[in-house]
């Protein structure tokens, strides 16, 4: 090829190989054509028509791409990492139809709380001094990046304790010490979809994809004992990529319960026309005490999932979750669900470590312009953060990390949609802001994780 003559042989060969490797087979093209034709069976679209068509065709809402990655940020277990004495309930008796943890969660105090020193793991970043990959460890006290871990590129880094964190790698769940010279070690082999450590890092709950099938299983390893399968919990469909999607396990702040949410997992008996997805709450012994059954769910809107965007309220056994009706609050003790913010569609809710405030993002218009709101959970008063930023993390009671977004042209909609620029700002409740010394990459982003008692 003439256009190629001035390239070295190895580059020309690479080009040839990549074309060959990516070349589709006719069967794949035909299968996709069948799906497209099926999707075209709705009435032909009209010019200028957008959002209605998406719902009518049962498809997903187009969302700012990076916001999907930031969706995981809602999964950080800041709340689960509070420096509290865990109130570990007695194991529920086997076979009990209504297992109930004993004891009550530690009540919260919303007295003025100075920012306690914390460290944060940030997966996928650009340092202002140059490109970086993997995971960095940011120290709030010195406001510096203190370590980089090249190995931790594969997702969901979470502190086990102050001295180690784990992350999902293709081979399984890997443990990495934060000290110098520490080498990664595989804790759990297999395809981990999501996982969480209980407060204090004693228990580990994880969802495992079973090789050779779409089945996913829930596993629990308690206090160093052998891991136990809690059985299949559904099948992985794994096709959703929207803002509403969520995949996480998260413990309540006292470790009494954990929630398992996965909008890409279809439970055993889905109901046509109702939103699928997995939404369970279990005691820390693994017993299922609550599940949003398909029948309970509101009718689906296209393929947009429902019952997601969850976050535990620290100091309580209350679990916030969103669906098409608004934001709701589940009391895990009574299994009662009450509307909390009817009609509100929230994204990326994060709760301050003291449990006093919640921050979340709303999105407006086809451009999905983000607005972040901070709500005082005791008084209900709200503060709207100026500018278009999405909610990222609440690493300390008085400190919010925000991701800046700007409109970027979308060829699909013919208009602009908001996308993160990479700039991350730390904002105090008083409104003081400071740029953090790294940028979130808008690819590969896997979230933040903070730890509050490291080095103490």
């Amino acid at each position: 090829m003439a256009e190629f003559d001035d390239f070295p042989d190895e580059i020309r060969e690479l080009d040839r190989m990549l074309r060959e490797a990516a070349a589709p087979d006719a069967a794949g093209v035909a299968r996709a054509r069948a799906r497209v034709r099926q999707g075209m069976t709705s009435p032909a679209p009209r010019a200028g028509w957008l959002s209605g068509a998406i719902a009518a065709l049962g498809s997903r809402r187009l969302v700012p791409a990076t916001a999907v990655a930031f969706g995981l940020i809602a999964a950080v277990f800041i709340a689960g990492n509070l420096v509290r004495t865990p109130t570990v309930p007695a194991p529920a008796s086997s076979g009990s139809p209504t297992p109930q943890p004993t004891g009550s969660p530690v009540p919260i105090s919303c007295d003025t709380a100075p920012v306690t020193p914390f460290r944060a793991l940030v997966a996928q970043f650009d340092l202002s001094s140059g490109n970086g990959t993997g995971t960095l460890l940011y120290d709030q006290a010195t406001q510096r990046v203190v370590s980089r871990f090249d190995a931790a590129t594969d997702g969901q880094p979470r502190f086990v304790d102050g001295g180690a964190f784990t992350y999902i790698a293709p081979t399984g769940l890997v443990r990495q010490g934060t000290g110098p010279g520490s080498k990664p070690a595989t804790l759990v082999a297999g395809q981990i979809l999501s996982y969480a450590w209980s407060p204090g890092g004693k228990d580990l709950a994880y969802v495992l994809g079973i090789s050779g099938s779409q089945t996913v299983e829930l596993w629990l390893q308690r206090q160093g004992s052998a891991p136990v399968s809690l059985g299949p919990i559904g099948t992985a469909q794994g096709r959703e990529t929207g803002l509403d999607d969520q995949r996480l396990i998260e413990y309540s702040s006292d470790g009494a319960y954990f929630a398992v949410v996965d909008t890409s997992v279809v439970p055993a008996a889905p109901v046509p026309g109702r939103s699928a997805g997995l939404f369970q709450v279990r005691t820390n012994t693994g017993q299922l005490i609550y599940e949003r059954t398909p029948a309970e769910r509101v009718p689906s809107q296209g393929a947009i999932p429902s019952d997601s965007q969850v976050v535990w309220r620290p100091g309580t056994h209350g679990l916030f979750f969103g669906n098409f009706s608004g934001v709701n609050l589940l009391d895990a003790d009574s299994r009662e669900v009450k509307p909390y913010h009817p009609g509100l569609r929230w994204y990326q809710p994060v709760i301050s470590p003291d449990g006093c405030r919640i921050a979340y993002t709303t999105r407006d218009g086809d451009a999905m312009a983000p607005t972040t709101v901070i709500e005082d959970l005791q008084t209900g008063s709200t503060v709207t953060v100026p500018g278009h930023r999405s909610t990222l993390a609440f690493p300390a009671p008085g400190l919010l990390w925000l991701a800046e977004e700007q409109p970027q042209f979308s060829a699909f909609s013919g208009a602009s949609q908001y996308e993160p620029t990479g700039v991350v700002t730390s904002r105090s409740l008083a409104g003081d802001e400071k740029a953090l010394p790294f940028q979130y990459r808008d690819t590969n982003s896997t979230g933040f994780e903070t730890h509050h008692d490291i080095g103490s």
């Binding site: 256009e3 190895e10 580059i11 060969e13 690479l14 080009d15 190989m17 990549l18 074309r19 060959e20 490797a21 990516a22 589709p24 087979d25 794949g28 093209v29 996709a32 054509r33 799906r35 497209v36 034709r37 999707g39 075209m40 069976t41 709705s42 009435p43 032909a44 679209p45 200028g48 028509w49 957008l50 068509a53 498809s59 187009l62 791409a65 990076t66 999907v68 990655a69 995981l72 594969d154 997702g155 969901q156 999902i168 790698a169 293709p170 395809q191 981990i192 999501s194 794994g238 990529t241 999607d245 995949r247 979308s410 060829a411 699909f412 013919g414 690819t443 590969n444 982003s445 896997t446």
Partner: protein, 169 residues
């Protein structure tokens, strides 16, 4: 409910299906190189064309290059999907017929290794590599990227160099 199609609707569909026949293979190749996973790519190519179908009445009369438009849609979807695959510790599943190894500088590089290396390239590189994998000439890439042809060629060359270096590690 689907009613009786008007002549205009029939024309709309037939014109779109012609676009699919002409462009689907290239878009699928683009997505395969971008995601590194042929199965995921196949899923996403359908989604790409469904999105395009929704915009087809508006786009059709604008006289803009169809392939470039489709690639943009595919790219946006792929970025979403790619992030999700990263989040979930996604594994590429070996499909029948994907086994044959390709030789590169005396090394054996599996097809999946090659695709994975392309997919793990930085976003800008990935786009360039995938455009070539989709069969675009440098002149076509230049038009798509809004660059001169020499600039597009040099950008792709650097991306390929970085990918090659990655493969050699």
């Amino acid at each position: 409910m689907v009613g009786v199609l008007t002549t205009g609707e029939v024309n709309l569909r037939s014109s779109f299906e012609a676009v699919y026949d002409a462009e689907a293979s290239g878009i699928l190749a683009y997505l395969t190189a971008t995601l590194g996973d042929p199965a995921e790519a196949e899923d996403l190519v359908a989604e790409t064309f469904l999105k395009a179908w929704r915009e087809w009445p508006r786009f059709r009369d604008q006289g803009k290059p169809v392939r470039s438009w489709l690639i943009r849609i595919a790219r946006n979807l792929a970025i979403d999907r790619w992030r999700r695959m990263q989040r979930t510790g996604h594994h590429v599943t070996l499909q029948p017929g994907m086994g044959p190894a390709l030789a590169a500088e005396g090394r054996t590089v599996d097809r999946l290794q090659l695709l994975a290396a392309a997919a793990r390239s930085p976003r800008g590189d990935r786009h360039l590599l995938a455009l070539r994998a989709a069969g675009l000439s440098f002149a076509e890439m230049a038009a798509d990227l809004g660059k001169t042809e020499p600039a597009a060629k040099m950008a792709w060359y650097r991306a390929a160099e970085r990918m090659r270096a990655h493969l050699e590690r």
